[in-house]
């Protein structure tokens, strides 16, 4: 009797989950992905899977900064751009050096050095920006913080883009591949090593990030601040430290994504715009402050883009996801996985 009851409640619970907006969207995405594979062949999915993981990283950083600091970051894409730039300037000399004196170990590690350097520079840049810009605004602004900080990030974005343009010019700085290893086949699809590694890098980073937020003291403090700032202050959490850390972490994630995707997105000053709005699509799709949801959202948006560009034509891959996200924003403003609790964004 008892067993059947729990089983029943489990089934109804599952059914309710499946037929919620989130469940239906995931189901629909899976069906569409399956249909795409059936019609076009699985190679279409490779790019979606590779980029999806990185969009998830971008979105996670974006939603973290919004959750903790209430900043709608328009300059998030610029950290992506800085990441591509740093990775280029670290990796290119290294690979030139490797051409003259080859070393199997270094050639395996060099791309990771580039990505790591990008993440560090991104974190540093984020921390500096928090200290020099956001902290100053926070001291002075009491009302309309969200709008003012948003405009501040607009200014930051303009400065970073054009500063990079002045210092390093507008030419494309890209590489063809990170690893000089021939591609391999999975299920009849040729996948380059770069793509495979980038996918696993994204998953590992996401997992690490999730673990950090969940199980470490600092991560808990960050989540506490995003849930209730006053309460967090009351229990003695050092707000300044958390804010610097959050900004650094978010920028590092964006820079890491940029560095990892250097072979797909050659570095130039405005390369960050597209990742920026894709990250926004993901955040709006899944709702603010939802790290696990960002992963799902990243894949949904990436799949939507690859499918649009395959079935409708390249160039349209921005228009269709935009329309889709606008629809989500209309029907469920708190996002697919968001709760109906009124957040600060509705104030």
């Amino acid at each position: 009797m008892q067993a059947t009851q729990t089983q029943e409640s489990f089934i109804t619970d599952l059914l309710r989950k499946v037929f919620s907006a989130a469940g239906l969207t995931i189901l629909l995405t899976l069906v569409i992905a399956g249909a795409t594979v059936f019609i076009a062949g699985p190679f279409v999915l490779v790019n979606a899977i590779v980029t999806g993981g990185m969009w998830a990283l971008m979105a996670a950083g974006l939603s973290l900064v919004f959750g903790v600091m209430n900043i709608v970051n328009f300059a998030h894409g610029e950290f992506f751009m800085v990441g591509t730039l740093v990775a280029y300037f670290v990796f290119t000399p290294l690979s030139a050096h490797l051409k003259t004196n080859p070393s199997p170990l270094l050639s395996a590690v060099a791309p990771f050095l580039g990505v790591l350097a990008a993440a560090l520079v991104g974190a540093l840049l984020g921390a500096v920006i928090e200290k020099t810009v956001f902290l100053q605004l926070r001291k002075r602004t009491k009302e309309q913080w969200i709008m003012n900080s948003f405009l501040l990030t607009v200014g930051l974005s303009v400065i970073i883009i054009n500063g990079v343009q002045i210092l390093w010019g507008t030419n494309f700085k890209g590489i063809t591949r990170y690893w000089e290893i021939p591609p391999f086949d999975i299920l009849g699809v040729t996948v380059s090593v770069d793509r495979a590694v980038v996918f696993f890098l994204a998953m590992a980073t996401m997992l690490l990030f999730w673990y950090f937020l969940r199980n470490t003291g600092t991560g808990r403090a960050i989540r506490a601040v995003s849930q209730d700032e006053t309460g967090a202050r009351m229990v003695g959490i050092d707000m300044n430290r958390i804010q610097v850390l959050t900004m650094a972490l978010s920028s590092a994630l964006a820079a890491l994504a940029g560095a990892s995707l250097l072979f797909m997105f050659p570095s130039y000053p405005t390369v960050g715009l597209k990742p920026l709005y894709i990250a926004w699509y993901v955040v709006i799709l899944v709702g603010m402050g939802n790290v696990a949801g960002a992963l799902v959202g990243g894949f949904i948006v990436a799949l939507l883009q690859t499918m649009t560009s395959y079935f409708i034509g390249p160039g349209w891959e921005d228009v269709i996801p935009t329309a889709f996200v606008m629809l989500i924003l209309l029907v469920k403003p708190s996002g697919l996985f968001g709760s109906e609790v009124k957040g600060i964004h509705e104030r």
């Binding site: 002075r140 602004t141 405009l151 200014g155 303009v158 921005d318 935009t322 606008m326 964004h345």
Partner: protein
Amino acid sequence: MTQSTKTMPSESIPATLEVPPESRLQYINRMLGVSRLGLVLVILLAALPFIPPFNREDLLRWMIGATLIAAQAIAFDFTTGYINVVNFGFAAFLGVGAYTSALLAVELGVSPWIGIFAGVVPAAVLGFFTGVLTLRLRGIFAALMSWFVGLALLGIARNWVDLTRGPLGLSAPRFLETSSNRPYFYIIFAMMIVTYVVLRWITRSHIGLAFKALGQNIDAARASGINPTFYRVLNFTVQCAFAGWLGGFYAHYYGILTPQVMATSHTVEVLAIAYVGGRGSIWGGAFVAFPFIFFFEWLRSTLTDLPGLHLVLYGVLLILVMIFYPGGVAQLYELLKDLVSRFRPDPVSTTKVTK
């Protein structure tokens, strides 16, 4: 104490309250809010194309650019400064007006003079729908929604190559056969004045009061009987209509139209000018546009080896204003006016003294 408060009203207040009926001219002046200084500046601006350094063709081009930005900043502030929603897709609506007018001229041979008014219609319709789309959203989410609308419109303009010729650029006929820039300056000058007069009139009427109430607290405004749906959609429609109209000028002045006109960076430019000018002032952005655009154009033409430096300064300035003086130039002006009036004899107190 109590005696004085009792006797004061019966004696002096009726005398001071006897306001002479407002004449029609005074009413117009109150609605438009043109101060003596403002009037002098406008007349100076109108005369500028004949004053020596500014009658050069390159400087006239700068002036036309500045006036166009000034008019856009006025329209931008109409939404940002009043209902407190940033229309982040502003440039896209300008582009819609520009493309409509240019396509009408190219495909159907419609005169640009009619075309720029025809461009208003699709821009206003799209503005209407954007207003409807952003209705349920507040603050920053409405800004994001309008940004997405702008991105979608940009994507359409870029990809519908059969119609817009995409990134290749659509060449539109110009208003006039002349190669002189002076007539164009007077066209855009008149358009700026019309934009100012209409939008200022609306914001000074009871409609503007409703806008302000909605911008400050949407729930309180609703509770006091203001219909948020009507006023927010109205605001968006009017703003986008003006954006489309100004877009028509853009198309028929520059003569070449690429989807880049709808890009976010263009919105950011207008936004920076409007914010440095001062939110909710309508005139602030227009006032700031002239010195700024001149300074930036001068910077661009002297430091040609550093492209983008003027944009870096844009960013720095926007940040500095947001941090240290969010009221912008309009607030600075109010402060100065206050200081001046402190040293001047107060008309009310002098009447009291003579009594």
